[in-house]
Amino acid sequence: MSTIDLRSRFTSAATSVTVPVGASRPSLDWVRLVLGTAARVVLFSLVGLMVYAAAPAALGWSPSTVMTGSMEPRVHPGDVVVAKPVAAAEIHRGQVLLFDDPDQAGHLRLHRYHDNGRAGQIVTKGDANTTADSTPIGRDAVIGVGFLRVPYVGSPFVWAANHQYGHLLVAGGLLLLVVVLSRCDRHLLRGPGDERVATPRATASTGRRARRRRERRLRRLTTAGGALGLAAITGALALTLVVSGGAHAAFASSAANRPSSLASGSYDCLQDTYNAQTSYGFSYNETSGTTTADGSAAARVGTLSGGATFVAGSCAGNSSPYLQLDGTGQVSTAVNLAGQSTFSVETWFRTTSATGGTLAAFTAAQSGTNTVTDRALYLTTGGKIVLGVRPTSSTTKATTTPGSYADGSWHHVVATLSGTSTIIYVDGTAVVTDTSNRTVQMPSGYWRVGSAPLTGLPSAPSNGSFVGSLDGTTIYNNSAQTASAVQARYAAGH
């Protein structure tokens, strides 16, 4: 500041006036004016950008700061994207959507609607990812469609989240510089007339000084007020952006192994082994059809008819597949055998029926009821097991177990007839030995399972057909099995 002595015509006293030194360098003033105006444009533009970014929140739109770069090159980290809520019907492929991140609870994701998923779901994809997001989203997870993009205005939040404090400091410093520059031409608002206080009276009276001080104070207050107001608005806008949160446009990368394929063959563990005296060995391991394989060396076949169905089972202990009969079914064989004087009949059975029925029998005809049954293993209505035979064409003989076995549990039964006696073994143990039952006539005939005409045989039920489950039905046409063989068969399970 330079002091100029003025000689007023009213007084001889000198009056001091302070005049800004710039009065002598107007080019500098113009530079300051231009700089200040430019700085103010930058400052207010920044505020304007923040208004565009945060104000739509008042409309219910959703601004969010993009935190990662998987939507490059069109959306950068630091951009603020304002998503406009739209009706579900107006969301379509190609739009950039803001939605609840399905992979990270509580986060938002900004990706593009890439394709339709199953059941109305949306498959999304980040533009910079090579593959679509693996988790599809429901339409109700969409918060809005990207509508406004305010570039880089959210960068401070991204820098803070990534701990890039250097960036924050530099940006803060630049902002401060712009603020300072915007005030550098403030003095130009006050013209020379404001500063000059040359009055007729030489000495500045207290009133005028006080007035000057009041003017100065008022000016400072308005300036401070204006700055505070601006800061408050900017702060509120920034707070809105912080509260709206960041959208993670998630990066994803995957390593996929091609689908493995496993194929099962046939399970030989299901096969039962049958000894050399076996005429028929039926394990009932089929899953469907009307024939069942014979496991004996003769490898014959049994034919299902009527209500006879296969039930699935596994190789695990006592869980093998079996045959279910409903009282109208049977398994017949097609080989005519000569009846022998010793034989054995074996099967596993399970029933709760009170109608009894044939387990296995040797009849003159392959099937049907119009035939004679020469020897049969059957259950009485009370659930007792009987081996009934015809020693002659006009006589019958039967051996019955003392106990009943129609209790819903699996039981193993082997009935043997030799020249000495009839023995019935249940669950590996002989429960009845009958020395009076040891002869049988020897016609030729066919073995059948599950159904036979039992008329005339002692304690026979009226309905010769069995209701229940059968497994491992084995016929030894010419052998009375030993007790130890029976034990081993029982121990092997079904």
Binding site: W30, R74, V81, Q104, S134, A252, L262, S314
Partner: protein, 199 residues
């Protein structure tokens, strides 16, 4: 040249507001148009701020191709998955292309164990993690229906991104001893996918 008058100064002071509004409006509308007007974008590889990247050592070969399986049949393979990304991420494992005939998949058990050592084709040297090594032990069918994408995938591996990290996964299948005879001649297929997302 005269100095700027106060009037010019005042104009200069206040013209900035509408000028700024116009300028910011132009910036926002241009940015919005360029970001949201196009509906498809070709993927670019110039990622700016770090990446997530996952690879495996399977040379595009499936972990298992087995036939003629019976109850008790079993097989095991390992696969080494490597993360080379520079961002911290979380890796999840899930199944794709799950399919089965004759219900075989419900009678196959699958076990996935994470650890180190070994690699695709040989589990020699594989050591399970000291804790939390078992990621899954159940039927193949259940894995294929329960773990289908990143959000419901299994896994606890969280590469930090500071350096390349490798983890090996040992995958074992077994045909259940209780597989019923109805599963004979059946098939089961499943693809395993490891995915990393930045956390």
């Amino acid at each position: 040249m005269s100095r700027p008058t106060p009037r010019i100064a005042r104009i200069a002071a206040w013209i900035t507001i509408p000028a700024a509004l116009v300028a910011s409006g132009i910036v926002v509308s241009t940015a919005s148009y360029s970001a949201f007007s196009s509906t498809t974008v070709n993927p670019t590889s110039n990622w700016t701020a770090g990446t997530v990247a996952l690879t495996d050592d399977d040379s595009n070969t499936a972990l298992f191709t087995a036939t003629n399986l019976k109850p008790g049949s079993t097989g095991s393979n390992c696969i080494a998955v490597t993360s080379t990304g520079s961002l911290a991420s979380a890796v999840k494992l899930y199944g794709t292309n799950a399919a089965t005939t004759n219900n075989l998949a419900s009678n196959l058990t699958l076990s996935v164990v994470q650890g180190t050592g070994g690699g695709f084709g040989s589990c020699t040297g594989f050591t399970p993690l000291s804790s939390g090594s078992s990621l899954y032990n159940g039927t193949l069918a259940n894995f294929g229906s329960a773990y289908t994408n990143y959000s419901n995938g299994v896994g606890t591996w969280a590469p930090t991104g500071t350096a390349s990290e490798t983890r090996t996964y040992q995958v074992t299948y077994t045909v259940s001893s209780t597989a019923p005879n109805t599963t004979q001649g059946g098939t089961a297929s499943l693809g395993l996918t490891w995915e990393a997302q930045n956390s």
